[in-house]
C-alpha cells in the first residue's frame, strides 16, 4: 500500500510539473490560440475517454451514448451559470450530478441488456436526450444555447482531467473496481461469487456518466455555445474510438488515444475535405492490424522501458 501511495504522489508531482510547464508556455505566448484550443479539447477528450473506458473497458458494458450525458452536463452547466448566475464550480458539480443521476436512471433498466443490444439502447438514449434538448426552447432549441461565458481555463481543465484520471484509477484498484473487472471477465462467474452485478454495473455507468457531465460543462464554457449538433452519436463514436484505439481497459491507453486522435484531427484541420477520409481510413487500418488497441489492456508505465532496456528481472522472467 505504501508504495502505491508513493507512486500516486510521484505522479501527482509530475502532473504539477507538466501543468507548470504548459501554463508557462501559454502565459508567455509560445502556445498559440490554435494549440490552446486543442489542449482544451485534449483535456475534455481525456475525461470523456477515461470515463467511457470505465464503462466499456473495465466493466465490459458496451455503451455508445456518452455524448448524451455530455450534453446534459453542457446544458445544465450553462443554465446554472447563465440563467441562475451561479459560479462555475456549481455548474460543473451540477452538470456532473445531473448527468450521473440520468446515468443511474437510464442504467438501471438498460443494463439488464447485454452486448449489442445495450450498445444500441445507449445509442438510442443518447439520441433521445439530444432530441429532447433540441425541443426545449428554454435552452435555445435547435439554434443552440448561446452567450455562455468562457469560464473554462487551462487550470480548471487540467486539474479536473487529473482528478478524473486519478478517480478512475483508484476506483479500479478498489474493491468496487475489482468487482467491475470481474463482471467484464465473466458475468455469470462474478454473480456466482456473490457480486451484485447489477449494482456494480449501474455504479460504473453512473460514475462514467457523471464525468461525461463534467466534460460537457467544460466544453460549453469554453466554446461559448452549447449546440445540439455537437452531441450527436458521432461524438459518442469519437469517444469510443479513442477508447478502443488506446486499448479497452487501459487508462493510459485512453489518454494516449484521446491525445492522438485530437492531434490527428488538429493536424488535418487545414485539409477539411480530406480530414474525415484520412481519419476513417486510419481507423480501419489500425483496427485491422491492431484490433486490441495500442496498449491492449495494459497500462503504460516506466517499467515498460526498463524491460526494453534489459533491466528489471520480472520483465525478462515473464519474457513476453
Amino acid at each position: 500500500m505504501k508504495t502505491k501511495t508513493k507512486n500516486d504522489l510521484l505522479s501527482l508531482g509530475a502532473c504539477f510539473v507538466v501543468y507548470a510547464i504548459i501554463q508557462a508556455l501559454i502565459t508567455f505566448g509560445v502556445i498559440g490560440q490554435f494549440w490552446q484550443l486543442n489542449i482544451v479539447l485534449i483535456g475534455i477528450n481525456i475525461i470523456l475517454a477515461v470515463s467511457l473506458n470505465l464503462i466499456n473497458g473495465f466493466t465490459g458494458q458496451f455503451s455508445i451514448g456518452h455524448a448524451g450525458f455530455m450534453a446534459v452536463g453542457a446544458y445544465l452547466g450553462a443554465v446554472l451559470t447563465v440563467k441562475m448566475h451561479l459560479p462555475f464550480i456549481v455548474a460543473i458539480l451540477g452538470g456532473a450530478l445531473a448527468a450521473g443521476f440520468l446515468g443511474f436512471v437510464i442504467g438501471l433498466p438498460t443494463l439488464r441488456l447485454s452486448g449489442d443490444y445495450l450498445a444500441i439502447a445507449t445509442l438510442g438514449l443518447g439520441e433521445i436526450i439530444r432530441i429532447t434538448i433540441l425541443n426545449i426552447p428554454y435552452v435555445g432549441g435547435a439554434s443552440g444555447f448561446m452567450g455562455i461565458p468562457r469560464y473554462t481555463t487551462f487550470t480548471w481543465l487540467f486539474f479536473l482531467t487529473v482528478f478524473t484520471v486519478f478517480f478512475v484509477k483508484n476506483f479500479i484498484n478498489s474493491t468496487h473496481g475489482r468487482a467491475c473487472i470481474s463482471i467484464r471477465e465473466n458475468e455469470i462467474a462474478a454473480e456466482a461469487m456473490g457480486i451484485d452485478t447489477t449494482r456494480y454495473k449501474v455504479l460504473a455507468f453512473t460514475i462514467g456518466a457523471a464525468f461525461a457531465g463534467v466534460a460537457g460543462a467544460l466544453f460549453s464554457h469554453y466554446f461559448y455555445i452549447a449546440h445540439p449538433a455537437s452531441f450527436t452519436f458521432m461524438r459518442s463514436f469519437d469517444i469510443l474510438t479513442m477508447v478502443v484505439l488506446g486499448g479497452l481497459g487501459s487508462i493510459t491507453g485512453s489518454i494516449a488515444g484521446a491525445v492522438l486522435l485530437t492531434f490527428i484531427s488538429a493536424a488535418l484541420a487545414s485539409y477539411p475535405e480530406w480530414r474525415m477520409v484520412i481519419y476513417s481510413l486510419s481507423l480501419i487500418i489500425l483496427m485491422i492490424y491492431r484490433p486490441q488497441g495500442l496498449f491492449g489492456n495494459k497500462e503504460f508505465s516506466l517499467k515498460m522501458f526498463s524491460r526494453l532496456t534489459g533491466g528489471g528481472k520480472r520483465g525478462t522472467a515473464q519474457g513476453k
Partner: protein, 296 residues
C-alpha cells in the same frame, strides 16, 4: 371526427410507403447480423451510394427507372461485397468491438469519401416517371408511393424465395444457425457471408433509389438516419429474422408517420428511438424473436 379518420388513413399510407423503404434497408442489417453478429453501421451509407448509382444511371446513362434500379442494386451489392472482403474479413476472429469500430470507420469513409467525390450539395433526383396523384375520397395517393410499395414487395418476395428455396439460401440459414457447424458440413462460409453482404447491400441500394424517387433529393449524408432507423426496425422485428425486418420496417414507418402527423415532426426521430428502448426493455428478442436462454 371524419377529418381525423381522413388524416389517420392518409398517415397510414405515408407510413407504409416510408416503412417499406425502412424494411428494405433493415433486411440487410438483419441478414448480416444473423450470420456475423455484426451491426454493420456502414449499411446506411451503402444505401446512400445506391441512391447515387441510381442518380447517375438516370442522368448520365439516361436509363429509365427499372434499369436504373437494377444498376443501383448491382453497384451497391458489389460495394457491399467489397467492404466485407476488404474491411470485415480480416477481422473475422478479432474482438467484436474492433469490428464495430471498423464498421464505423467504413461508414465515415463512405460518407466523407462520397462528399469528396460528388460534393456535399444535395442533388435533385430526376423524375423517372410521370408523377400522378390519385385522390380517392379525399385521401391522396401518388404514383411514387405505389411504385415504392410494388418494388419493395416484389424484392421481398424474391428474397424470401432465395432464402427459403435455393441452395445458397439454405447455406445462409445454416451459417446463421451455427457458422462452425456449417463449415464442418462443407459449406463455404466465406462465400455465404459475401453473398449475404451482396444481397443485403443490393436491397439497400434499391431502397436508396426509391427514396430518391420519393423525396427527389439525395446527399452524401442521407444514409445516417435511415440507417439507424432501419436498424431499429430490424431490432423491433427481431434481429436475424427476415420476416421480422419487413414487419418492423413497416411498423416503424407507420409510427413515425403518425407521430409526425399528429404530434410534431421534430419528435419523429425520438419516437423511433423510444420504440427501440421500449422493445429492448420488454422484449429484447423483438416481435418475432424467440427467447434464448443463456447457458453457462
Amino acid at each position: 371526427m371524419e377529418s381525423f379518420f381522413h388524416q389517420l388513413i392518409q398517415q397510414l399510407i405515408n407510413g407504409i410507403s416510408l416503412g417499406s423503404i425502412y424494411a428494405l434497408i433493415a433486411l440487410g442489417y438483419t441478414m448480416v447480423y444473423g450470420i456475423m453478429k455484426l451491426i454493420n453501421f456502414a449499411h446506411g451509407d451503402v444505401y446512400m451510394v445506391g441512391a447515387y448509382f441510381g442518380f447517375f444511371a438516370t442522368t448520365v446513362l439516361h436509363l429509365s427507372f427499372v434499369p436504373a434500379l437494377i444498376v443501383a442494386m448491382i453497384g451497391a451489392g458489389l460495394l457491399g461485397m467489397f467492404i466485407e472482403r476488404a474491411a470485415y474479413r480480416p477481422l473475422r476472429d478479432a474482438p467484436k468491438i474492433a469490428v464495430l469500430i471498423t464498421a464505423i470507420g467504413v461508414s465515415l469513409l463512405l460518407e466523407y469519401g462520397g462528399m469528396l467525390l460528388v460534393t456535399p450539395q444535395p442533388r435533385t433526383f430526376p423524375k423517372v416517371f410521370e408523377a400522378v396523384t390519385y385522390n380517392i375520397g379525399g385521401i391522396v395517393v401518388n404514383s411514387q408511393q405505389i411504385v415504392i410499395l410494388v418494388v419493395s414487395i416484389l424484392l421481398m418476395v424474391i428474397l424470401t424465395y432465395v432464402v427459403n428455396r435455393t441452395m445458397i439460401g439454405k447455406a445462409m440459414r445454416a451459417a446463421s444457425f451455427d457458422m462452425d457447424a456449417a463449415r464442418l458440413m462443407g459449406i463455404n462460409v466465406d462465400q455465404v457471408v459475401s453473398f449475404t453482404f451482396g444481397i443485403g447491400s443490393a436491397l439497400a441500394g434499391a431502397g436508396g433509389v426509391l427514396v430518391g424517387v420519393y423525396y427527389n433529393s439525395i446527399d452524401p449524408l442521407m444514409g445516417i438516419m435511415p440507417g439507424l432507423k432501419a436498424f431499429v426496425a430490424a431490432v423491433l422485428g427481431g434481429i436475424g429474422i427476415i420476416p421480422g425486418a419487413m414487419i418492423g420496417g413497416v411498423i416503424l414507418g407507420v409510427i413515425e408517420a403518425l407521430v409526425s402527423g399528429f404530434i410534431s415532426s421534430t419528435f419523429r426521430d425520438a419516437a423511433a428511438f423510444g420504440i427501440l428502448i421500449l422493445i429492448l426493455l420488454f422484449k429484447p428478442s423483438g416481435i418475432l424473436g424467440k427467447n434464448v436462454r443463456e447457458k453457462v
